[in-house]
Amino acid sequence: MLRGVDIGLRYVLPFMLFGSSLITSGMAQRKGTNNRTSSTALSMKSQSEGTISVDFISAPDGTALTGGASGQRSLNLGTVSHAAGTQTPNVHVQNLPGRFVVSTRFGLSLQNGSQHASSATIMAALAVPDPAYIFRFDGITLETVPQLVQGKARIGTTLMHRLEIEVPTSLTEKNSQLHNAIIFQIIPN
């Protein structure tokens, strides 16, 4: 026999407000928020204080990354062509029937202040759709939907990765400018 339970709003409301502040704090991932919260809430905030970060590193055998903060760098592959290849150091051009592949290497360095996780999942996605070119990260084709590119990347180390861009020879001067961005998302395991 089920019996109804009468929960008074005066009991529930304070807990709902408390839970809500925790969610907001976690989602915002802000350090040092000065919210008036209970000690439990501060404990939750400390979990988000140990923020994980990702830095892009120029690879010794890759083209030099330029500009921006460490988590927002640029990779200019220069001028590439099927017949002439490239003049950009550490950029490689491989000719294939009907297409050529431009490739280089760069590093991803994962750091985690909290030391709570030893590995992380790396997701990657193209910023904008580009049907003219095929982007591959370590052999995985990138799309605008985030793709799992590494399931257990060690935190605290720099791992080198390979970026390949496949250029169809049928593209003409109209599509000669390649410009896109790869958005990486790092999720601690």
Binding site: F18, M44, V80, A83
Partner: protein, 177 residues
């Protein structure tokens, strides 16, 4: 008492939920740029009707060897000979293939020029006289990807001594139109 228990469970669930949401993530953006240049490529191929290229078939640096030639004796297979009053001409079909990539160019212009002057013999490619003085236009509307036959011909005067070696280089230049 029962009310307090339910409220406690509810609050615990809320905390667990918020703990899950509080998982930190990081993101980074790598901007990638490049400029793709259009290009064309020229290669020489052996023509079935001519002398097989002795080296470099399928590349842009090939060698065509006519072997021993004479006005009246036998010539090797693939060599065509015509004899006139004071000279004879040996000719062989040679295929030139120009391919384009990343270009909207409709066709190409092909020019040729002798590497060094030849005061004795006369050279022609595709029926067009070729000298070292200037480039000669073989075609202004070449078709991409097709094996186009541009026969290489040498006219040798009867006055050339027997055993005379003939050697030269023909430089081809294809330009996208």
């Amino acid at each position: 008492m029962k009310k307090v228990s339910i409220v406690t469970i509810f609050a615990a669930l809320m905390m667990i939920s918020s703990a899950a949401v509080a998982q930190t993530t990081a993101s980074g953006t790598l901007t990638v740029s490049a400029t793709v240049n259009g290009s064309i490529q020229l290669v020489f191929n052996s023509d079935a009707a001519g002398v097989a290229l002795s080296s470099g078939a399928g590349t842009n640096a090939a060698t065509l060897a006519f072997g021993n030639v004479s006005a009246f004796g036998t010539v090797v297979a693939g060599v065509t000979r015509t004899t006139a009053a004071s000279n004879f001409t040996v000719s062989s079909a040679v295929d030139v293939q120009v391919s384009k990539t990343n270009s909207a160019s409709a066709n190409y212009t092909l020019k040729a020029q002798l590497g060094t002057a030849d005061a004795t013999n006369t050279w022609s490619v595709g029926g067009v006289a070729v000298t070292s003085a200037a480039q000669s236009t073989l075609t202004a509307t070449g078709t991409y990807t097709a094996n186009s036959n541009f026969p290489v011909a040498i006219t040798v005067p009867f006055t050339s001594a027997s055993g005379t070696s003939i050697s030269n280089t023909i430089n081809y230049v294809a330009t996208a139109n």
